[in-house]
C-alpha cells in the first residue's frame, strides 16, 4: 500500500478499470490479469498494477484479480455508492443540454437546482427543474444540501458565479466556462473545456502533411 500523493490521472483511470470490470462481471468473468485488463482499456499491464497498488494489494500472484472483489473495492474507494446533490448555474445551450443529460444521474450526480441571471429563463422549467434567479443560490444550496456546482455561464461571469458558489459553501465545482477560475487550495475545481477539445482537432488537421 502506497501512501504518497495520488495523481489525479490515477483516479481517472480507476474509473476506466471499474467500468471494464463491471462489464466483465456481467458476463460472469471472475478473474482477470493486469495484462488482460490493460489490453481491454488500452493501458499497460504495469500501469494497471501500479494504479491499483496505490490503494491496496488486490491481486493474487499467479492468477490475477478477483473481478467482483475489485469492483467492490473500487466502488468504495471512488464513492460510486454515494449520490450527490448538484446545482447548475447557467441555463443556456450547454447548461440545458446538461440538465437533460442522463449521464449525471447515472453516475451519482443528482441535479436538484438550476440558476440563471436572465429574466427570460427564470421561472421556466427544464426537465423537472425550475430555473431560479441567481440571488437564491445561497438559500437553495444550504436548504437542499447541495455539494457540487456546475458552471455553464459565459466566460466573463464565471468567476463571480464561482465566488458565489464558494461563499455558499460549495467545495467542488465542475467548470465548463472557458476561463481559469481562481479559488483557494481547499476548493476542487475541475475544468471541462469543450471548445479546446474541438480546437485541438483543428490544429491536428492543419498540421498533418
Amino acid at each position: 500500500m502506497n501512501s504518497k500523493k495520488i495523481p489525479q490521472a490515477v483516479i481517472s483511470r480507476l474509473f476506466i478499470y471499474l467500468r471494464e470490470l463491471t462489464e466483465l462481471a456481467k458476463v460472469k468473468i471472475t478473474t482477470i490479469s493486469s495484462a488482460e485488463l490493460g489490453d481491454r482499456t488500452n493501458l499497460s499491464d504495469a500501469q494497471v498494477r501500479k494504479d491499483l497498488g496505490y490503494f491496496g494489494n488486490f491481486g493474487v500472484s499467479g492468477s490475477g484479480y478477483a473481478v467482483n472483489e475489485l469492483v467492490e473495492a473500487l466502488e468504495k474507494i471512488l464513492g460510486k455508492n454515494k449520490v450527490w446533490n448538484v446545482a447548475l448555474v447557467g441555463t443556456g445551450h450547454l447548461g440545458s443540454a446538461l440538465l437533460s443529460y442522463p449521464g449525471f444521474k447515472s453516475h451519482g450526480l443528482n441535479i436538484v437546482s438550476a440558476f440563471d441571471i436572465s429574466p427570460k429563463r427564470i421561472g421556466k422549467a427544464i426537465g423537472d427543474i425550475k430555473v431560479k434567479p441567481l440571488e437564491d443560490i445561497k438559500k437553495e444550496i444550504s436548504g437542499k444540501k447541495i455539494e457540487i456546482g456546475i458552471i455553464t455561464v459565459p466566460a466573463k461571469s464565471a468567476q463571480s458565479v464561482c465566488d458565489k458558489l464558494i461563499e455558499s459553501g460549495i467545495e467542488c465545482i465542475l467548470n465548463f466556462a472557458p476561463v481559469a477560475l481562481n479559488a483557494t487550495e481547499n476548493i476542487k475545481i475541475r475544468d471541462v473545456d469543450l471548445s479546446r477539445e474541438i480546437e485541438t482537432l483543428s490544429y491536428f488537421l492543419v498540421n498533418k502533411k
Copy 2:
C-alpha cells in the same frame, strides 16, 4: 525555434493564450509580458515562454509580446482561420445537445451530417440537420468533404462506428463514448469522457476529511 515533438498539452495551452490575448486586444492592450499573461491564465511565466518558444521567437526582450502580432501568429499555427466539415454519429441525448451547441460552429467546426441507427430517429431533423441512417456514412463523408467525426453513441457500438468512419476516410475523431477506441497511429482520436469528469468529483468529496 524548437523542432522537437510538441506535446499535446502545449497545443491545448496555446488556445488558452489565444483566448486571453483576444480579450486583451479588444480592450486595446498592445503589449503583454509572459508574467502577466501567466497570471491571467493561471499558468507560470516560464511555461508561457517555453510554450511559445516551440513555435518561434515572438517576444521582445525588455518589453514582452505584441498582442496583435501574437494573436495572428497563434491563429495561423492553430488553424483558427479554417472551417472544417463535421459528421456526428449518435443522436441520443448528448448527440442532439451537441448538434444544437453553438460552440462548434464558432470554433470552426461545421456539423453538416448526423447519423443514427435507430429507425425512430432517422429522418427527423435536429436544428437544420436531418438524421441519416448509418449506411449513408461513406457516401456522405466523401460527398460533403467531411474531415472530422464526432462519436456520441453508446460504448458498445463506438468501436464499430469508429471503424466505419475511418473506412470512409476520416482521420480525426472526437469521441464522447466512454470506451478506449482502437485505431492506427495516423488517426487522431480525442476522448472527451464527461462521466469521468463527473465521477472524479465524487472521489474528491468522499476523500476529503
